[in-house]
Amino acid sequence: MTKISAKAVLVAASALLICAHSVPAFAADGISGGDTAWIMTATALVLFMTLPGLALFYAGLVRSVNVLSVMMQCFAIAGLMSILWILFGYTLAFGEGGHLIGDFSRVLAWGMGTEAASGTIPENVFLAFQMTFAVITPALIVGAFPERMKFSSILVFSVLWLLAVYVPVCHWVWGGGWLADMGIKDFAGGLVVHATAGVSALVLASLLGSRRGFPRELRPPHNPGMTAMGAAMLWVGWFGFNGGSQLAADGGAGMAILVTHLSASTAAVVWMLIEWVRFGRPSLVGFVTGVIAGLATITPASGFVGPTGALIIGAAAGVLCFFAVGMVKNALKIDDSLDVFAVHGVGGLLGTILLSVLMSPVFDGPGYDEGVTMGDQLVTQIIGAVATVAWAAVLTFIIVKIVGALTGGIRTSEDEEIQGLDLVSHGESGYDLH
């Protein structure tokens, strides 16, 4: 029998060998070429969301004398956050550590090389993918302070904010921290990305003060087409943001893309209809704001709902974010200039809550983890939301105070604001068309 089995083993082993050979490289180490291909693509797509996507989206909404300053803020944040991520961000967010924060085991990704795996993809791909999230999240906050914040203050703020707000929340939810332990569901960053950015934007805007002329005498967006093209790129890039968060090229990623697209479509159409009814004509800026609202709102839910859930989330996002925009301006009287809180904050929180209902098979969702009821999930989601909002608000307040002290105030002078930051902060002009 032993001999026989030896023979069989040999044959089977050679079967394996051929099999392994036919799927080279990754057979040995559990890394999947398909998954890796997709997450590298997704990484490119998420970078594309910030640059040029978000830069165009925001830059089109300001006065023409501030167009470059907004782009510069997005670029500089991208550069700085990336360096920070490889130094401390990744390791503190995803290093093992404890319930509250990671550790310093992966500073500079030292020794990670090309072989280390994270699930079925190389760890360096996971690190790069997460880096693009760490870039876009502080870049979202740019929408709170355009046209009037000092460039130096912006940079210092972003550095501190990444370390003190983004990294911890990221660890809590995705890095094995206390919210992960509780079973929180945040597929692609409703809390980690949109709630943190949205809440911090609101706090920062209220501390910074309004633009000259707010709210009655502002100039309309100088280039709505630029904004719309930025929104288009955000939309496309979001396929990588949500679809990539599956960390695999499979039906889960496919479903995330599908529901992402449907939510964006629905929220935008709903926003268009509201404007049509209220103002007599639907605007392009409105439509694309609806797109972003739908995208932000589906983000936490995109791995946990089906198409039916996506239509509901989209419709809710369109309605709620529309009214939130008005409320921040008119009731709170805070000049969160490009509506970061009303769109991303409200959207991210809304999706985080709604998913606990829409996961249910009743809405064609995949259902709950074993032993978890809708009510359980809802409670967990609410705890996560409250914790994230509170943490982001308090820390942002403290950081702004520190930044003010470090950079001698965070606001440009009135004269500089009139002249526009392109010239004042960067010595350039946006358009010389003659």
Binding site: L61, L218, S283, G286, G326
Partner: protein, 112 residues
């Protein structure tokens, strides 16, 4: 010589230019301007906030003509630019004491 300055609706520019040409006028200068008058601007609404745009796009035509041609040119412009609707614009006329053609140095009516 006189300078006619006409503020008209932008889409009437070509009609006015052609009318002046058939009157034998050979040169004119055009600027993009914004006007404020009985024809009001409009409001644009972005994300629920109203922005008032007080001004309406207009085109300013400046044409210097010989004294003798003023009346005719004035009537030509008026007829060509008229749509009968508010915001059609104005024509103002004032004296020009010198005119020089840069290329040749000719001056006075010959310079036109």
């Amino acid at each position: 010589m006189k300078l006619l300055m006409a503020i008209i609706k932008p889409h009437k520019l070509d009609a006015v230019r052609e009318a002046l040409m058939s009157d034998g006028i050979e040169g004119l200068t055009v600027s993009e301007v914004k006007g404020f008058g009985r024809q009001k601007g409009h409001t644009e609404i972005y994300r629920g906030a109203e922005y008032t745009v007080s001004f309406v796009p207009k085109v300013k035509i400046e044409v210097v003509v010989d004294e003798g041609t003023v009346e005719r040119a004035l009537e030509t412009v008026r007829a060509a630019a008229n749509t009968g609707q508010i915001g059609d614009g104005k024509i103002f006329v004032y004296d020009v004491s010198h005119a020089v053609r840069i290329r040749t140095g000719e001056s006075g009516p010959e310079a036109l």
